[in-house]
């Protein structure tokens, strides 16, 4: 496991960070509740939020959360922190102040504490057929793409499916079964933009209903939440433009 900071004995001044963390075990708790924790760390020391959570788990082993790569690549530790969705592994504790409120991602069913069921989110991702669809015979070697065509995928392919965007979207909260959500739509845009994909018309034809794409009301929480600095709102408006060009 990467760099869990060791707190040196007899370290200089200490700083107390107050945590208020969402706790819920559906099998035993009638209702979710917020539990307070205090973490003392040296004043001159900073760490990522996930490392603070690991230290808190040493205080209370029952505290449950997901984490894996610790470098913003796997997308496991998306959390709602002080009201905003972010990845715990790339968020400095010093950015969060002395009172940190941690909740699970909203709009997804809670399995336990900070762990949510990602199945509805992946279900919407699956619906956009996130893979290349081709009808022509495959060339002997590979389907070539010019550097300019490849550039069109920048800002789209980097998505790690952490669900920070989709779970911050009110349109997704109210219609999680019907609205695809920003992450799935960003991926859809990635395949619509790919010069090697041959199913553009079929993909667009499936989108003209009232919910899948058009339930987006341009709230743009998705873009402000994305820990990878991507812009799902812009991807959605690109899809709308393609849709208009096809239908007009």
């Amino acid at each position: 496991m990467a760099n869990i900071p060791e707190i040196p004995a007899g370290a200089t001044e200490m700083r107390a960070v107050q945590f208020s963390i969402y706790r819920y075990t559906p099998e035993t708790n009638a209702k979710p509740y917020m539990q307070d924790y205090v973490l003392k760390i040296p004043k001159n020391k900073d760490m990522m939020l996930v490392q603070a959570l690991i230290l808190l788990k040493e205080q209370d082993e029952t505290l449950t959360f997901r984490h894996s790569c610790h470098e913003g690549v796997c997308g496991s530790d998306g959390l709602n922190v002080n009201g905003k969705n972010m990845l715990a592994c790339v968020t400095h504790l010093s950015q969060l102040g002395d009172k940190v409120t941690v909740r699970p991602l909203s709009g997804l069913p809670v399995i336990r504490d900070l762990v949510v069921d990602m199945a509805p989110f992946y279900g919407q991702y699956e619906k956009v057929k996130p893979y290349l669809i081709t009808h022509t015979e495959a060339p002997v070697k590979e389907r070539l793409q010019s550097p300019a065509e490849r550039d069109k995928l920048d800002g789209l392919y980097e998505c790690i499916l952490c669900a920070c965007c989709t779970s911050s979207c009110p349109s997704y909260w109210w219609n999680p079964d019907k609205f695809l959500g920003p992450a799935a739509l960003l991926w859809l845009c990635r395949f619509l933009q790919d010069s090697r994909d041959e199913a553009k018309q079929e993909r667009l034809a499936e989108l003209d209903d009232l919910f899948s794409l058009y339930r987006c009301r341009t709230i743009m929480n998705c873009t402000s939440a994305c820990p990878k600095g991507l812009n799902p709102a812009e991807a959605i408006s690109k899809i709308r433009r393609m849709e208009i060009e096809k239908s007009a």
């Binding site: 349109s171 989108l207 209903d209 009232l210 899948s212 058009y214 849709e243 208009i244 239908s247």
Partner: protein, 118 residues
């Protein structure tokens, strides 16, 4: 993808068309409101007969009816969206949408009546 997600109470029952109608009607609403504001700014000491003659001209009546229809379509799509977001029981949702649609129709007819009695 699965079945088409549509609704009998939506204005056009098609996502692209609803989206386009809402954008175009918003432009008409904006132009009309800006025109009226501009008219009031450039006629600071306006009195009854000037105001009446504005509303008696055919061009402005056409513009006003266009405004009323745009308002109805725009509000229909917007209110339909809000209602389908927040009201989940189908019977209550249908009742609320129908009341909104009937009210919008009534406002347009009432508005036309007011325009032609000016």
């Amino acid at each position: 993808m699965v079945n088409k997600l549509t609704s009998i109470t939506s204005l056009t029952r098609n996502g692209v068309r609803d989206w386009l109608v809402q954008r175009v009607t918003s432009l008409i609403l904006a132009v009309y409101i800006l025109f009226l504001l501009g008219y009031l700014v450039f006629h600071p000491s306006i009195e009854f007969f000037a105001w009446q003659s504005l509303f008696q001209s055919t061009a402005f009546r056409v513009f006003s009816v266009l405004f009323l229809l745009s308002l109805m379509w725009h509000a229909w799509i917007g209110m339909w969206t809000i209602v389908t977001d927040y009201i989940k029981p189908a019977d209550i949702r249908l009742a609320v949408i129908l009341i909104i649609i009937i009210a919008l129709f009534a406002y347009v007819i009432w508005g036309i009546d007011i325009l032609w009695s000016a």
